[in-house]
Subunit: 233 residues, 2 copies
């Protein structure tokens, strides 16, 4: 079903890419909601009956189901709006509050990242895994003040869920948000994908990070390919 | 001619996108040269006879001409290699050491940025200009330590020449490198485009930045949409 949704979202939403979609409202976090966020969310909701929903624009809907779907209709809205080609659709399914399935879709690269808990992570149906740690060739995405990692390459690409997938497919070593600013909707789908790709996911105290189905909580998060990476922080 | 070159470069180089092209050498700056950098540069050189050339991989060739062409075959090589969809081909022409023509090509968005000195800046043949400064809604790309701008959105996208074009087309307010690390090849084409789009280009002392045809120099650079922005630094 996730793939059906992304196909429809892509068709309806991509015409707005780079066009600075009209602001239509503020979402539950106080961010501006653009028309493309709303369109994307509405498409996803259309497919979902009787389940609980947590989404960026509408917040939480509790239908008393054992299933909860967590959606970020456009991860990287600002990028989408101004034409930076890095943004994603994020869709996660929880069963009895436990991660069950994650899907993160990179519209530009046409990368479908997917994982069921316990069954490995996939990119366009091919198994993916994290890269080996090499202390002389570290690449990271990092959102934090006053932290100095001896990385060769640092990026802030502005779509954290999709940046997590760069770790999952072994393109970079780690991504971090220690401000902390990311929310469940930003990280839920990629959390499952990264875990299944072999990543370590911890908070800034380096304790295992478990997701709670709380749409308001801000997470500090480190997604890394190894314990060796964690020693740098 | 620039457009002829980018068409051929695109055809020959894009098949390597995201494929971690084999490292074939080190360039004059000590960076690894990948096969796609070499292919791109070779195509550009094929079209250029009797002019002086400054390029990332080969350094400087002085043919005693009044014309000098400055090329970065792939601005954002690392992005290209690992599949981050943000990189460009940069091509600048100088006449008697003065900026004459700039072309920066965003392969993913298919954005051709162009400018002749004194004749305005264009994106796919449409005139572009910088955005108005709004102190409550600042977006920047920034490469610097220990600098705190009160920006709403900060990016490090890893292709400075292309990030400069985001300023030129009014997507963001400014981009800065104060480490300093960028070189002539990274900024020459977009320098001309940004100037023609109305941007202010200064060094960290806020003095007008003029380009020198020196391929080794590292620039500290601020490209901004306004004097108001410069007051923040």
């Amino acid at each position: 079903m996730g793939k059906k949704i992304i196909k429809e979202v892509e068709k309806e939403v991509m015409p707005y890419y780079g066009k600075r979609g009209k602001v239509i409202d503020k979402n539950i976090y106080g961010d501006e909601t653009s028309i493309f966020d709303k369109i994307s969310e509405d498409i996803a909701l259309k497919y979902l009956n009787d389940v609980n929903i947590i989404s960026e624009e509408i917040g939480k809907i509790d239908n008393g189901s054992e299933w909860t779907v967590v959606i970020d209709p456009i991860d990287g809205s600002f990028n989408f709006k101004i034409g930076i080609p890095f943004f994603a659709f994020c869709f996660a399914v929880f069963k009895n509050d436990k991660p069950y399935y994650g899907l993160t879709y990179d519209f530009i690269n046409k990368h479908i990242y997917e994982a069921y808990t316990g069954k490995g992570a996939y990119l366009n149906n091919k198994r993916i895994k994290i890269k080996e740690f090499d202390p002389n060739n570290i690449s990271v995405c990092i959102y934090a003040e006053n932290i100095n990692i001896n990385a060769k390459r640092v990026r802030m690409l502005g779509a954290f869920g999709l940046e997590m997938c760069l770790v999952a497919r072994g393109a970079i070593d780690a991504c971090l948000d220690l401000r902390p600013k990311v929310r469940l909707v930003d990280i839920a789908s990629s959390y499952i994908i990264c875990k299944e790709a072999g990543a370590i996911i911890v908070n800034k105290k380096k304790e295992t990070l478990n997701l709670e189905l709380d749409h308001k909580k801000r997470y500090d998060i480190i997604v890394a390919n190894s314990k060796d990476f964690l020693k740098l922080i």
